[in-house]
């Protein structure tokens, strides 16, 4: 029996706190969904209701009519997938080496990961803007992908190093003793064990790129090239006057992919963060 029993009133207090937390978390999100499904007259009413009396999909239709949402979503998707794949392909070998060899390279890598968290993007984006301009990669998908890859590398490296350390070095040594070459060991022993971690890292990189706004705002000039978050801000209009229904509908749609990924991956992502954080 555990000695850590909680008294009745304390328990009640805990449930009350939990309830308050749930309300605070859920309330804006439920409001977003509710607004997205409200017909225009209900939106204009001075006494808004929580649940739409007459739910409709009009806002979604109107949203697609007002802004090029499909194209924006396609732009976002291509940029995020490309960035995630490249980032993982590039970071995995580096993570492997830095996690296995303790030395100057490993400390340089971790140092860079930490430092990169601290930099205000504006200090990096101005030179990147000039560099990409010289390469004629402003207002282009590939230019944005390049930026996203570099930007997601530190965290990808961090997560992957945690996953590599979770693979016991003894397994590799055992394979070596059994006569497997270094390459064979890597391919047939280490790599399979790393696959879940690599997938989690790639999905995390995907979500960060899908959600990213600042770089996309600076680098993409024409509406045909812009990603979803940038296009969403067009709904806000110049004076901040917005068509609430379509705005809510579009915003809700933009969230779904990352919500799905996170729902599947929550445990892995926190696990990866921790693995990186605890063992370094």
């Amino acid at each position: 029996m555990s000695v850590l029993r909680t008294s009745g009133p304390a328990r009640a207090g805990q449930y009350l706190a939990l309830l308050a937390y749930l309300v605070f978390l859920a309330f804006p999100f439920l409001w977003l969904i509710s607004t997205a499904f409200k017909p225009a007259p209900e939106l204009a009413s001075l006494h808004p209701t929580w649940i739409p009396k007459d739910p409709t999909l009009d806002n979604f239709r109107q949203a697609f009519g007002e802004q090029p949402l499909l194209r924006a979503a396609a732009n976002s998707l291509v940029a995020a997938v490309a960035a995630a794949l490249i980032a993982v392909a590039v970071a995995t070998p580096l993570a492997y080496v830095t996690a296995r060899h303790r030395g100057r390279l490993a400390s340089a890598a971790t140092g860079w990961v930490v430092i990169s968290q601290a930099f205000p993007f504006v200090l990096v984006i101005i030179p990147l803007f000039l560099i990409l301009k010289n390469l004629h990669l402003i207002n282009s998908g590939p230019g944005l992908v390049l930026v996203y890859v570099v930007w997601s590398l530190p965290f990808a490296l961090w997560m992957l190093m945690g996953y590599v350390r979770a693979v016991p070095a003894e397994l590799e040594e055992a394979a070596a003793v059994d006569g497997a070459g270094r390459l064979r060991t890597l391919v047939s022993v280490t790599a399979p064990l790393l696959v879940p971690g690599i997938v989690a890292t790639a999905l995390f990189a995907f979500v960060t790129a899908w959600n990213e706004f600042f770089f996309a705002l600076v680098l993409l000039k024409t509406p045909e090239k812009q990603t979803l978050p940038v296009v969403l801000t067009h709904f806000l209009g110049a004076e901040g006057v917005a068509d609430l229904g379509p705005l809510a509908a579009a915003a809700f749609l933009a969230t779904l992919p990352s919500l799905l990924v996170f729902a599947v991956l929550q445990r892995r992502i926190t696990g990866g963060m921790l693995a990186g954080a605890v063992k370094s």
């Binding site: 296995r100 200090l123 990147l128 930026v147 609430l244 933009a254 921790l274």
Partner: protein, 311 residues
């Protein structure tokens, strides 16, 4: 993977090999290069370039005739009241978001570490703010804060607490209103990190302390907090830095208004650089922000080292 192309039979580690310190040899460099190259070219390089730009008069559209101006930009910054306003707002915002994030996050982590029913629901919901694009978080809260059609004013009206207010446009309310959104958006991540830290504390220690008659506060002081401290320090330092450098949320909520009351340093620098084209000046702002953040990192490192010595 690039390395798979390289047959490597001769380098099979022998028993004698394993004892010696393993530095990065040729094979290792082969694995490392594809990552190092983009890092150097597109991350470290631009960073140094950015610092260099702060000492020039670089402007957009006029980059070819850029001249070295020494510390002129920094001298101008020193006298730029608007920049220091935004710097101060940035500090208020960063502290105002980070402290509640930590305190609420800690309370919640302790709560979710208990055996409560429905805690799965709390964990599942915690994903929402975390996974949402910041732009969407901003849009969502604008819907909540909307003076006429927003649910916040309607709730206040229902409770008989006044006739509603334009939270994001009020000079006095704008900053607190965006801070609340910042707390909402960042709390789950803090909670999850602290929760993970809590779950690393051995339960036996708690039980032993409880058997010795320690109340929950003493158990927290003596068992939980010492184990949690490294995670807590790290997440707090990171949150301060991230919040100080944040952009998208406030850009969508108020775009720095009303009257500059929520103009965070990043918003200010963005406008300088990409609205007025003052690359050199904006880069100098970036440098000042880096310096501020570095002081913070240094302080937290010093505290950490001291903590290690105490033990």
């Amino acid at each position: 993977m690039t390395a798979t192309k390289r047959p490597d039979r001769t380098r099979a580690p022998r028993a004698a090999d394993r004892g010696r310190p393993r530095g990065p040899d040729l094979g290792a460099w082969f694995l490392v290069l594809p990552a190092l190259l983009p890092i150097l070219v597109l991350s470290v390089g631009p960073l140094l370039y950015g610092i260099a730009l702060a000492f020039t008069d670089a402007q957009s559209g006029r980059t070819r005739t850029t001249r070295w101006v020494g510390t002129l930009n920094f001298q101008d910054l020193l006298h730029d009241a608007l920049f220091w306003d935004s710097f101060r707002i940035g500090v208020v915002w960063a502290v105002g978001v980070t402290v509640p994030q930590f305190l609420l996050g800690l309370g919640l982590a302790l709560l979710l570490n208990q055996n409560l029913r429905f805690r799965w629901l709390a964990r599942a919901l915690a994903i929402v703010p975390w996974a949402m694009p910041e732009v969407v978080v901003g849009i969502m809260w604008r819907l909540v804060y909307n003076p006429d059609a927003g649910i916040l004013n309607e709730t206040l009206r229902d409770l008989g607490l006044g006739e509603g207010h334009d939270w994001l446009s009020g000079l006095a309310t704008a900053l607190p209103a965006v801070i609340l959104v910042g707390v909402w958006a960042g709390m789950p991540q803090t909670t999850v990190a602290l929760l993970a830290g809590l779950q690393n504390t051995p339960r036996e220690l708690h039980e032993a302390a409880a058997l010795d008659g320690a109340g929950s506060w003493r158990r927290f002081r003596a068992v939980t907090w010492p184990a949690l401290r490294p995670v807590a320090l790290a997440i707090t330092a990171l949150n301060l830095i991230w919040n100080f450098n944040s952009f998208a949320l406030v850009y969508v909520l108020t775009n720095g208004g009303p009257g500059g009351r929520t103009r965070l340093p990043m918003l200010f620098a963005y406008e300088e650089a990409f609205r007025y084209g003052q690359f050199g000046y904006a880069a100098a702002m970036g440098c000042v922000m880096v310096a501020a953040v570095s002081v913070l990192i240094a302080l937290s490192l010093v505290r950490r080292l001291k903590g290690d010595q105490d033990r």
